[in-house]
Symmetry: C2
Amino acid sequence: MDERQNSSPTAAILVIGDEILSGRTQDTNTNYIARFLGALGIDLSEARVVPDVQEEIVAALNALRARYTYVFTTGGIGPTHDDITADAVAAAFGVGIDYHPEALALLGARYKPGEFNEMRKRMTRIPDGASLVKNSVSTAPGFQIENVFVMAGVPMIMRAMLEEIAPRLARGAPVHSATVEARIAEGRIAASLARIQEGHKNVALGSYPFYREDGSGVQLVVRGSDEAEIAAVAGEIEAAVRAEGIEPARIYL
Amino acid sequence: MDERQNSSPTAAILVIGDEILSGRTQDTNTNYIARFLGALGIDLSEARVVPDVQEEIVAALNALRARYTYVFTTGGIGPTHDDITADAVAAAFGVGIDYHPEALALLGARYKPGEFNEMRKRMTRIPDGASLVKNSVSTAPGFQIENVFVMAGVPMIMRAMLEEIAPRLARGAPVHSATVEARIAEGRIAASLARIQEGHKNVALGSYPFYREDGSGVQLVVRGSDEAEIAAVAGEIEAAVRAEGIEPARIYL
């Protein structure tokens, strides 16, 4: 139904992390990247989480990079034995991997003599043909190879890298949205919503029930690139809610 | 490295939701399910997020259900036009879909006469051959078809459904973990960690740096099914940290 997306760049996220799959860590990077890309008019079309296993990373990365304009990976680029992302990306592209002179210089300048040990040097191993993505937080860089951006998993570092990456990205029409919230069961207005969606194929109309301590209801979200149409659709939704005797609220998230 | 997993059931999560990919909603279901399955000794091996598009759901579901012992889906089983999960699951299995007598009875008893409208009846459309998963929160059921469990996206409802599902699941060896936290740069102990991991192939040893207001450091996590080996490995890690002149803390998450 979301036909505007055909002309926008697309993206996928590949989260590399045993700690996400074990439940030890709540992933927040996907949500941050999703919002960041939305503001640039890039449609996040898929996200995957895979374990720290090379063949899993390779298979997922190759599936995603063939299909979407961009792939953003998070995790696995530190100095420890479980950081295998750079090797996996090199394997996925079928290229070699070696110590990168610029990365060596960056990290060499950061550490005192004797502290730049072999494990830390692992962080300068970059697949052949990749360009660095600077890390303003902790120096060890990410990298870009073709349409794949390899970032750290630590949120603070990932966010800094995303800022470095942004100027390299093609942009689409920014996505706008309006949300109508109503203290109504979604089953009471579902037929109206279906009719409204049918009449406006350039926007995506989503219905999200909520249950809060102060009561339940539904958030009706209109998303698209045409702000005037979004406002018109939000108006139609409000009218449909009022027709059920409920006063809605329009909120902006 | 995680060889214990070979004998445990495996699982994948398929999150169906435009609202996750747009960044509007932070997914918390994956983390909850991951922890829930870990306690049952079921290895969560992969997670994917796909949009509310039938062919995307079908393709992802068929890939995952062929590969893992179980697949858990969340989202898209409400009464509105954007709730297309049941139809997509039926399409993935190549079976029909129809109003399910037991689901009709459950929801028919919930609503007052005249309130059980056509859109609400959509929630009783269940793929042929599926069994219901009760919903103790809001009645409208999820369902199981072969190794696939279809749950609501609203976290409160999803959690209730997971409790209903638990007795149907095969269990593996529960996963245990110990965490050693140290105010040390991970690059200083990376070589020791690699050596310890090399000596204990039945546990998974992960290194997760943190940056907090009161300082930075690393959490070193040992995971496995043998509690004695986990304790021994945690002891080796503590010794390696102390060898660097830092006093570690063992914490339990």
